[in-house]
């Protein structure tokens, strides 16, 4: 592979000791950057023979510690495998190497009038392999679903170095177990995804972006329920609370109203006539629920600016305090308003600073605690608050993670959510598949 792609000095390896998750880091001895599937296979085979554990990573933007290295591991960084291999407009597919950047895949599809909808907040940085391994979501989940809904095929390097292929370009395929589905969201514990075959859809001809501001978070949530009740499925329904609005505005300076309690970013796309009609209805519903200001983005540039501002929310919250603990709990849509006010109560109870934003359309919210990892007393309160939030989430029939994965950050709660039998089955699959526990050990479960 050449010396340039095997890193061993501390100055080279320390920067691979973390991903996008706050307050987590691990020791790195060696980083290997293969340039082909064959090289990945060779490295994995060697590691298998020598009994060395492997932690795979792409751009390191994960938010549950999934690619944080563990003691004695080899870090396998796949950013060099960044080619988009083909766009097949006849079969509506894109084939890409695992290190291709998510936004670049959509840009390549766009050249053919096609659209790759999943758009995680880090889409300009994240790799598609990482997206598949974490089953990433994004701002368009409500209408378009998540990464899983677009994966048609995978090339995977197995724990002993063999290369396997799953799925194909056929819309219908019921030959045997749907093995690709096992790898989607497997967080690097079952195999190393090296190539993906993705479904793409025709690019919507029109799009309209709107912004509504409210004096009460409940009114924003109620607007969302009203929109769904009116049989409209917009592609985006995002909300920001007051704290988040302030931080985003400090960064983006695009004139967001700092004095409201909630902002709702709405977007509808599709046929121009349908978009125009839906947009009118959504604006009317927002006004009827007491939105104090409702406006439509002037043009594409402003629409993009608003969406980009929303995407920066998590990082922008880091302005306030040294450490930013981001949560990813998700509840059924109709329980979202209840959950949002519960988060505010919990923060008050534990005397913590919290900013909440997220995907109001699909019930996925991101309560973000603004704290300091060096203040152990405060961090203990953060953990108590998280415990409260998880308990409430599960009571409401929700999930501990909507789109970030279990990794290291959520594994304490997985068993409680999925139940004993389901948790045991997951571990049995892992054990059968990777008996030596070489791939991303200690992630998802111990």
């Amino acid at each position: 592979m050449g010396d340039a792609h095997v890193l061993t000095s501390p100055e080279d390896t320390i920067p691979y000791g973390f991903d996008g998750t706050a307050a987590l880091k691990g020791p790195v001895g060696v980083v290997v950057l293969p340039g082909s599937t064959a090289e990945v296979s060779a490295v994995v085979q060697l590691a298998y023979e020598l009994n060395i554990t492997i932690v795979t990573r792409g751009s390191g933007t994960g938010l549950s510690g999934g690619s944080v290295p563990s003691e004695g591991c080899l870090v396998l960084c796949l950013t060099r495998l960044d080619k988009i291999l083909s766009v097949d407009a006849a079969n509506l597919t894109v084939r890409a190497q695992c290190g291709a950047i998510t936004a670049a895949i959509d840009a390549a599809a766009n050249k053919h009038g096609l659209f790759y909808p999943p758009d995680p907040g880090s889409m300009k940085i994240s790799t598609i392999g990482g997206n598949v391994a974490e089953n990433s979501g994004g701002l368009r989940g409500l209408k378009y679903g998540v990464t899983r809904d677009y994966v048609m095929g995978l090339e995977v390097v197995l724990p002993d170095g063999r290369i396997a292929h799953f799925g194909n370009a056929c819309v219908k395929d019921v030959a045997g177990y749907s093995m690709k589905d096992l790898f989607i969201g497997s967080e690097g514990t079952l195999g190393i995804i090296t190539e993906v075959l993705l479904k793409v859809v025709p690019r919507p001809a029109a799009r309209r972006t709107m912004l509504a501001s409210y004096d009460r978070m409940e009114d924003a949530a109620q607007t969302v329920s009203d929109i769904i009740a009116a049989k409209i499925i917009p592609c985006t329904l995002e909300f920001l609370d007051r704290m988040t609005i302030g931080c985003v505005e400090d960064y983006a300076k695009i004139g967001l109203p700092r004095d409201c309690e909630a902002l709702l970013l709405m977007e509808t796309d599709g046929h121009p006539a349908a978009v125009a009609e839906e947009a009118e209805q959504m604006l009317a519903l927002a006004r009827a629920r007491g939105a104090r200001d409702v406006r439509v983005a002037r043009d594409d540039a402003e629409a993009l600016q608003l969406a980009s501002a929303r995407r920066s929310a998590f990082s922008a919250l880091a302005r306030v305090r040294p450490t930013t603990i981001l949560e990813d709990v998700t509840v059924p849509r109709d329980k979202l308003a209840e959950m949002v006010s519960f988060v505010a109560e919990v923060a008050k109870k534990h005397k913590l600073l919290v900013g909440t934003f997220g995907h109001m359309g699909d019930g996925n919210l991101h309560p973000t605690f603004l704290t300091d990892e060096r203040n152990t007393e405060e961090m203990a309160r953060v953990h108590e608050a998280l415990e409260d939030i998880v308990t409430k989430t599960l009571a409401l029939g929700g999930t501990i993670t909507g789109e970030h994965g279990v990794g290291l950050a959520k594994k304490a709660w997985l068993r409680r959510q999925v139940g004993e039998n389901s948790h045991d089955l997951m571990r049995e699959i892992k054990r059968a598949w990777d008996p030596r526990n070489l791939l991303n050990p200690g992630k998802i479960f111990d």
Binding site: E11, G20, S59, T79, S315, A316, R319
Partner: protein, 435 residues
């Protein structure tokens, strides 16, 4: 007290939550795809030093030097990490550790940063000598007979890059005080070091633009270096000394604005309060200084710059953002708006306009390969616009891109926005005289 990562307020390091938003904005990461060459990677190394997990090593020193310091990461960073502060602290620590220095590099550092750029009169004298060498045809002759081959390797590589020194320096072009017909503001004009030696005419243009907009311009003939070179290269003490000299020469209370026309200098100049925060006497003055410091384009647009009645004919112009003007000072719209005031001038947007051109202070000297790659990338975009003029507002970018255009055999001229505006005002005066 020597600056050090361990003594730095730890929350500045913690501010980076390593989300990776900076990666696609960083020219060295994009070129190499290695975390170490990214902003968050460098910050993780700095944090490891602060935590005592990593010693200041030659590789650490190399990495801090490989960073362009373009600050594109600061524009990209939603968390508001003060990368500039971190980088300067890290470089200062590398400097005081005395690592990675050969005898020659130390020699040139002493001659330039500690010598010439501390003594404005000496700098001008050397500039004059260089001018004579170029003017008398010695440069051409030496190059022809291969005498330049006798220079040490470092100098030999740099010799062709040496800019042509101006025939007249700023004091020969600008009187210490010049007054407009109707005075509205009293401003100080900073003439810079490289700007003064190579682009004194741009200082004249700046004064003209100010005069045409009701500003009384104060330009002391001998001005100290602003200290930006020193701060960027780990010489914090010298930077403080120079900042104090600057404040002494231009008491901020006496001016409505202190004007700079060099993007790189400006970004350093407007942060004197941070540099002098520990100085009981100068801290309050520095605070006032920062509040008065304005980039020329910023100042002009702030007060409704007058549009000239005539332009320079039909002209297609594109604009390159100097890193420290756009990422450091956040002045991006004003230079474009200023250009648009000129009748007949069509402004076309340059792709990747705010991507570093590779000049980056003395980066083209310290990291020639990476610098050259960036220059080639920039020149490709500039030529692609079809513009006949490229406007930019920083002497470093000006020299670097002009050299790139020459190398590429492109006929595109490089001018600064104030020059174009000053020329339009002159054309207007000529037209009015002719009436």
């Amino acid at each position: 007290m020597k600056p050090s990562l361990k003594l730095l307020d730890y929350s500045i390091l913690q501010q980076c939550m390593h989300c990776g938003m900076c990666l696609p904005a960083c020219p060295t990461y994009v070129a190499t795809n290695k975390e170490r060459h990214s902003p968050r990677g460098r910050i993780s190394l700095m944090r490891a030093v602060a935590d005592g997990e990593l010693k200041i090593s030659p590789a650490f020193a190399d990495e801090m030097s490989y960073c362009l310091g373009c600050l594109a990461c600061q524009t990209a960073c939603p968390a508001g990490v003060d990368y500039s502060n971190l980088l300067e602290t890290a470089r200062a620590e590398v400097q005081s550790a005395g690592l990675n220095q050969t005898f020659t590099s130390r020699f040139w550092r002493t001659v330039t940063i500690r010598g010439l750029f501390m003594r404005p009169r000496l700098l001008r004298f050397v500039g004059r000598l260089l001018w004579l060498y170029q003017r008398l045809g010695l440069q051409t002759a030496f190059r022809k007979i291969g005498l330049t081959k006798l220079l040490p390797k470092d100098l030999r590589r740099l010799e062709p890059q040496c800019p042509t020194v101006a025939t007249k320096f700023s004091p020969q072009l600008i009187r210490p005080v010049e007054s407009p017909a109707k005075k509205q503001h009293r401003v100080a004009l900073l003439t810079g070091c490289v700007q003064d030696l190579v682009f004194a005419d741009i200082n004249r243009d700046t004064a003209d633009v100010l005069l045409a907009n009701g500003c009384e311009v104060h330009t002391p003939p001998v001005q100290p270096c602003c200290g930006s070179l020193h701060a960027h290269n780990g010489e914090a003490d010298a930077a403080k000394t120079l900042a104090k000299r600057m404040i002494d020469l231009f008491p901020p209370s006496q001016f409505d604005a202190i004007i700079t026309n060099a993007g790189g200098c400006g970004n350093h100049l407007r942060h004197y309060s941070a540099l002098l925060a520990d100085d009981a006497v100068y801290a309050p003055l520095a605070k006032l200084w920062d509040s008065k410091l304005r980039d020329i384009h910023e100042w002009m647009m702030q007060h409704g710059c007058r549009a000239p009645q005539t332009g320079l004919g039909d002209l297609t112009v594109t604009y390159h953002d100097s890193c420290h003007l756009t990422h450091g000072q956040k002045v991006t719209k004003q230079p474009r708006d200023l250009l648009k005031l000129i009748p007949g001038l069509k402004l076309v947007e340059l792709p990747e306009a705010n991507w570093c051109c590779g000049s980056a202070g003395i980066y083209n000297i310290t990291q020639p390969e990476q610098s050259e790659q960036l220059l080639v990338r920039k020149i490709g975009h500039v030529i692609g616009t079809g513009a006949s003029v490229l406007a930019t507002a920083n002497p470093g970018c000006h020299l670097q891109i002009a050299r790139g255009l020459r190398q590429a055999g492109s006929p595109i001229t490089l001018l600064q926005p104030v020059t174009l505006l000053a020329r339009a005002y002159r054309a207007e005066a000529k037209m009015n005289d002719g009436r």
